[in-house]
Amino acid sequence: MAQDSVGFSSDYQFWMQKLSLWDQASTLETQKDTCLHLPRFQEFLRQMYEVLKEMDSNMIIERFPTIGQLLAKTCWNPYILAFDESQKILLWCLCCLINKEPQNSEELKLNSWTRGLLSHVLSAFKFDTKEVGLFIQGLGYAPADYYSGLLKNMVLSLVSELRENHLNGFNTQRRMAPEKIRFLSRVCVPLVTLPDIQPLVEALLTYHGHEPQEVLWPEFFDAVNEAFLLKKISLPTSAVICLWLRHLPSLEKATLHLFEKLISSERNFLRRIECFLKDSLLPEAACYPAIFRIVDEMFRYALLETDGAPEVLAAIQVFTWCFVEALEKQNKQLKFTLKTYFPYASPSLVMVLLQHPKDIPQKLWHQPLKHISEMLREIVEDQTHGSYGGPFECWFLFIHFGGWADIAAEQLVMSEAEPPEALLWLLAFSHSPRDRSQQRAQTMVEVKAVLSHLKKLLRSPTLSARDLQAAAAESQDRDLRPPSCQQLIRHLLLNFLLWAPGGHAIAREVITLMAPTDELSHEIAGFLDQTLYRWDRLCLEAPRSRKLARELLAELHAHIQ
């Protein structure tokens, strides 16, 4: 407690100085300083209220002799009164100073003075000419009615001035001066969360002047972005996109905010990730290549930092789905070439990847898969194709559209024919991009062996878990396989379970054998969730497989919890 009060005392001194500084000069600098400190000052007011409410007014004066000055300066600062809840907290603090039964003239004076301040806060800044005041009173209206109407009208007239400004372009007479626009943006900083001001905020964000430099104040963008992320203000998507296009730090903050949400949400729920993504407006905003590139860059960074964590991979995939959806909706309005979104990728590769499997009959899926595989292989194995980036770039591009790899796995398991080399390569590449060609070849051989074993089992009338285990362990000591290869084989087995007629009966047993650790359970749950999500997107009918997948997923979740 003693430490608290020491901390509080020094805070008190700090803010007392600040308030005096802001009070004396109302220059650009002090306004800027005030706006920067508003949230912290509000916190301080809150703390102060907690301290004051325990004391009566005499104690307060004894303990904080200068509190009168502090409160008065606060009351006279329009920026503070305009911000968020500061005016409310200030009122609470003032209430603490009122004495129920003043005993002497000192206490009476204090009461009277405090009442004056309270009155001032509620009827602050009386600028009305006397006539206007008499008119409102004569009509029987209260200031509350008048001020809400006045604010609305002022906002309307400012908005129309801003819009007209935009349309009138070179008609210099009607133009709003850039300084005024900048001032407006500064003044909006404390007011961002007031609903009446929202049209003005929107008009400022979408205002495109003819000045070469940004005319709005950077702190304005920060404040709007914060309020948007915390859902304290609702803006149309176009305004938010304008915000991000004009102020890069806001975009970065918004993306980080999304990442935090994705990390803290439950794993293995792609539908939820999709909701978060759509909610954040980032996929829609990403239709602008500048925004896409920055968000993509941040995803890339996250991927590298987490060493390819499956959650990040999943997020990238869902983000790309949403992005492509948004791009299709945009269709007519925005026309950027693919190269602007993926400057380091081969355009033909991107075009193939962008194809929606739904648009292609299922039996023809092997065609684009082969095509993709060939193109990727060409880039990866041929060192002279420097312009399309190394293996990592290729892989990073590919995992945006990671659904193709999953489709490839399914195709390999389900078909009776000899597994095509191209698909094997694609799978090996997607699970382990950094392998050298020899290692990859080895992986391909292993996978081929497992697949041929599985095909034999496909035809066998009775399946047992042991059979499957044998299939997986075939051809080499299981433990010598690198982990990415093991993962790949696990996925093939799971596919088999979902699709093979006899798979349902043994599914649970196999999974128990496959997943002795929590980590592996998570992986399998992730796989199932991803599969179901993909089937939904592709509108794949497969009632038995779906049912099984859903049941297994539910059981795994219960188990993990």
């Binding site: 809150r46 209220y49 329009p78 920026y79 009164l81 305009a82 809840e85 005016q87 409310k88 009122l91 609470w92 209430c95 009122i98 004495n99 129920k100 039964e101 003043p102 009476l108 009461n111 009442r115 309270l118 009155s119 806060v121 509620l122 009827s123 602050a124 600028f127 000419t129 006539e131 206007v132 008499l134 008119f135 409102i136 009173q137 004569g138 009509l139 029987g140 209260a142 200031p143 509350a144 009615d145 008048y146 001020y147 109407g149 006045l150 604010l151 009208n153 002022m154 309307l156 007239s157 400012l158 001035e161 001066a177 005024k180 001032f183 407006l184 003044v187 007011l191 007031l194 009446d196």
Partner: protein, 359 residues
């Protein structure tokens, strides 16, 4: 029902008293009772908002208040004007008490405790008094900050906002004045004219006459069967009243700037006729001074040539049909006056020549 109406009347009295020095006698218990009544009436508003019969009964009672208080009280408007006002009656009461210096310290202290309970109180009411009062303070600061940016070039626009807001409030009130008596709105406007600063009032009337036709109401109101759908009626009432009050009309046409008058005349043809008539009257008072070579009036209150010319000039720049009507009127006056072509004989000739429309 009876008890409800009684509550209602008692509260209206309380509201009226809350502004006077009478509150000196109030103790915390009185304040508590007053606030309770206000809260109860708010609850009534919420509950019976859709009950047409109860609403109408209350409205009728309220209209009685208009008749009783109108003209005699300190304001021509009673504290509670209609059912809608019940929604804010606690806010109204609280603000009046907070501003009233005559309220004793103990009572004031109690009031504060009730109004500002602090952070920990769960909001049973979505619209708490605390929230409304804080919002009021916030809005006022917002207005102040926006004004800071407006000074210099655009004080005109700012003035316009002030006038527009007053105009909207005036029209809102006019809607509420009981129509049962045909005289209602006119009488109300006459009282306002007598009591309020006239210059401002005239400007507000002009602004009200120029509001866009589908002007939104300043307070949200659900349209229900039985309420007059008087979105446009307000300004019709104004026009009607202006037409009956020649002194107001004269002041209106004299004191307001020419451009403003032209806009009003363009929107309201009945007023444009009266306006032209007045201009004609004023013109006839001027005579030609041979020595100075100008048209002058004999008495100080006569409208000088420059002003007359200015108003006509503005009218001639208006879009048709107003412009055509004005020119036709001028031509006809010139003809009746002798159809002179030379200056100095007929003021109409000179006006037309000066306007550049002489034939």
């Amino acid at each position: 029902m009876e008890s409800l109406l009684q509550h209602f009347e008692r509260f209206s009295e309380v509201l009226a008293v809350s502004r006077t020095t009478h509150v000196r006698t109030w103790d915390p218990a009185t304040v508590r009772r007053a606030l309770q009544w206000a809260r109860y009436l708010r609850h009534v508003h919420r509950r019976f908002g859709r009950h047409v019969r109860i609403r109408m009964a209350l409205e009728r009672r309220l209209q009685n208040q208009w008749r009783l208080e109108g003209g005699s009280g300190s304001s021509p408007v009673p504290g509670l004007t209609n059912f809608q006002a019940l929604e804010r009656c606690d806010l109204l009461l609280s603000l009046r008490l907070l501003e009233n210096r005559a309220l004793g310290d103990a009572a004031y202290h109690y009031l504060l405790q009730e109004l500002f309970p602090g952070p920990g109180v769960p909001d049973a009411d979505p619209e708490t008094l605390q929230g409304s009062l804080a919002r009021l303070a916030r809005r006022r600061s917002a207005v102040h900050l926006l004004r800071l940016s407006g000074y210099g070039e655009n004080s005109v626009l700012e003035e316009d906002s002030v006038l527009k807001t007053q105009a909207e409030l005036l029209l809102a009130r006019l809607r509420e004045v009981p129509k049962a008596e045909a005289e209602g709105p006119s009488r109300f406007l006459s009282i306002l004219w007598e009591r309020l600063p006239q210059n401002n009032f005239l400007r507000v009337i002009a602004a009200a006459l120029l509001l866009p036709p589908s002007s939104p109401r300043p307070q949200e109101e659900e349209l229900e069967p039985g309420t007059p759908k008087t979105l446009a009626d307000g300004d019709q009432e104004l026009v009607r009243w202006l037409l009956t009050k020649s002194d107001v009309m004269a002041a209106f046409c004299r004191n307001l700037p020419a451009g403003l008058l032209t806009s009003v005349a363009g929107r309201h043809p009945e007023l444009s006729r009266v306006y032209l008539g007045l201009l004609a009257d004023w013109a006839r008072h001027l005579h030609y001074d041979l020595q100075k070579g100008i048209w002058i009036g004999t008495e100080s209150q006569h409208v000088p040539w420059e002003e007359l010319y200015g108003k006509f000039q503005s009218l001639c720049q208006a879009p048709p049909p107003l412009k055509d009507d004005v020119l036709a009127a001028l031509e006809s006056c010139k003809a009746k006056d002798g159809d002179f072509q030379v200056r100095g004989l007929s003021i109409w000739t000179d006006l037309l020549l000066a306007l550049g429309c002489g034939s």
